[in-house]
């Protein structure tokens, strides 16, 4: 399954070394770039399967590199950033990054994020039924089952759950969710988002206080975890 190529764009030699060793020992091919320009060049000449992009680059900001890449490059981009600004991370996610890792991260976390980002087929939206451990969502008939019994969801709850589940493993920002579920005019009504997430958790989580499916990403948004989802295709 591997042999996929990952491009690491980071100006810190030690971080590149660490990422390279970690990824290579897990059978990924690694290409390194120390500057944003070099990174963009490599992507345009030999598009990798995934890009790990540091936000703090010396020549141009990671945000610019991201915007530049997203003009044509559609494979996953994972942001690697120094802990500090939730705003920065949310901005990168809204601009098309698939996921983020905060330095200092553990290598296990890195590999899990990479695997999850690479796993996703582009045609996710066409899957009629998906099973996420104890949860089954039938997108065609808009029904949700937990442990084989039907969960009654309101229209908004279903809309929220389906958008989260269709982006299994990916962080969706508050802004994005408000936009998608309530519409652009409700950008600032995050209190509804909080309330509906709480409602959803009560209905689909075994213990709503220890959620296993809908995870809070502090100050940024929510992440749905389907984990080893067994997808059924018709």
């Amino acid at each position: 399954m591997n042999n996929q190529t990952i491009l690491v764009i980071d100006d810190e030699f030690q971080i590149r070394k660490l990422l390279t060793i970690t990824l290579q020992s897990n059978n990924y091919k690694v290409v390194e770039a120390a500057t944003g320009k070099q990174g963009v060049n490599i992507v345009s000449n030999h598009p990798p399967d995934l890009v790990l992009l540091d936000l703090g680059l010396p020549d141009e900001s990671g945000h610019e590199v991201l915007r530049h890449l997203r003009e044509w490059y559609t494979n996953p981009i994972i942001i690697v950033s120094v802990r500090s600004s939730e705003e920065d991370i949310a901005k990168a996610l809204d601009n098309g990054a698939n996921d983020y890792l905060v330095k200092t991260f553990r290598t296990g976390e890195l590999l899990a994020r990479v695997r999850s980002a690479l796993r996703k087929p582009g045609s996710e939206l066409n899957i009629p039924t998906a099973t996420f451990r104890d949860l089954t969502i039938d997108f065609a008939s808009r029904t949700v089952k937990k442990d084989d019994s039907i969960v009654k969801l309101t229209g908004t709850e279903y809309a929220l759950l389906s958008i989260l589940a269709r982006n299994d493993g990916k962080v969706l920002t508050h802004q994005y969710l408000l936009n998608q579920v309530w519409g652009a005019s409700h950008q600032n009504e995050s209190q509804y988002l909080r309330v509906f997430i709480a409602h959803l958790r009560k209905k689909i989580e075994t213990d709503p206080n220890r959620p296993q499916h809908i995870i809070t990403e502090s100050g940024i948004g929510y992440r749905f975890i389907g984990n080893a989802a067994v997808r059924e295709r018709e």
Partner: protein, 326 residues
Amino acid sequence: MMGYRVVAFMLLMAVSILAMFLDIVPVLVAAFLSAVIWDFFFIPPTMTLTVGTPEDGLLLLMYFIVALINTVLTSKIRKMEKEVKAKDEKAKSVKFYNTLFNSLSHELHTPITTIIGCADNLQGNAPSLSEKNKTELVSEISVAAIRLNQQVENLLNMSRLESGILQVKKDWCDINDLVYKVLQRLEPNLSKYRIAVEIPDQLPLFRLDFGLMEQVIYNLLINVTQHTPEDTLITIQVDSQRDRLILVVADNGSGFPKKEIDKVFDKFYKLKGYATSGTGLGLSIVKGFVEAHQGSVKLENLPVKGSKFTIEIRTEKSYVNRLKNE
């Protein structure tokens, strides 16, 4: 009528008193003016600047010289006093910073020394090390690095606070989510403690900075685990009173020493007699982050056993969660 010589003494006294409070220049002016006034109004012939007798001329000259000496001496003494005080204060703060740097240096150097030492061993003596030794060294590096990371995190938070770049980004928060998120993060540290969470079912949403409040609760709980034995009961209570959020973290441990209870929020303060590692910044960050929300935090010992942190933050709340579910 009072003799004009007595007036000279009264004026001299006035100048001396001024010298105790004012700088040298205004006092010199006062000394000069008072000499002129004495001459003009009191030395016969009065209402002129002329002096009648040579004796009075001598008196006037002596008056002026005495006033001058008085002024200069007093101001010299005051200057010296100021210098001594400044020196004292400097010595005190040097002593304070020395203690602080010693402690900080220890906290940072211990894990760094461990990491470098273990790495050296792995590099230099690799062939002679048993597999078990290697595993141990690697695990020491890991533990030390995590510890170092925590200290750096604390220092960075503190400098965010002190530099004034800290921005409170308030958004609607589900307090349940907040509290349980921290508890989940701290699961490995809290596994041997008993935890009781008391949050009312219909608690409104509050506008807070989720990330900062997460750090506040995290630091409070870490603090409890550092100062109480395993199996201690930790209670987290949240309530809404009028326009306020009340958050309580209490434990039934041994409480704080009375003498030190007021100091625990001070920067770099560490309780005496506890061997716990730490920069002494955890609780001052709690205080800083809460105050950044215009809130307050207080600590008290409980009457029977244990201690209790109470956080009060005045902020907007929303009851949309009480609306019927569509």
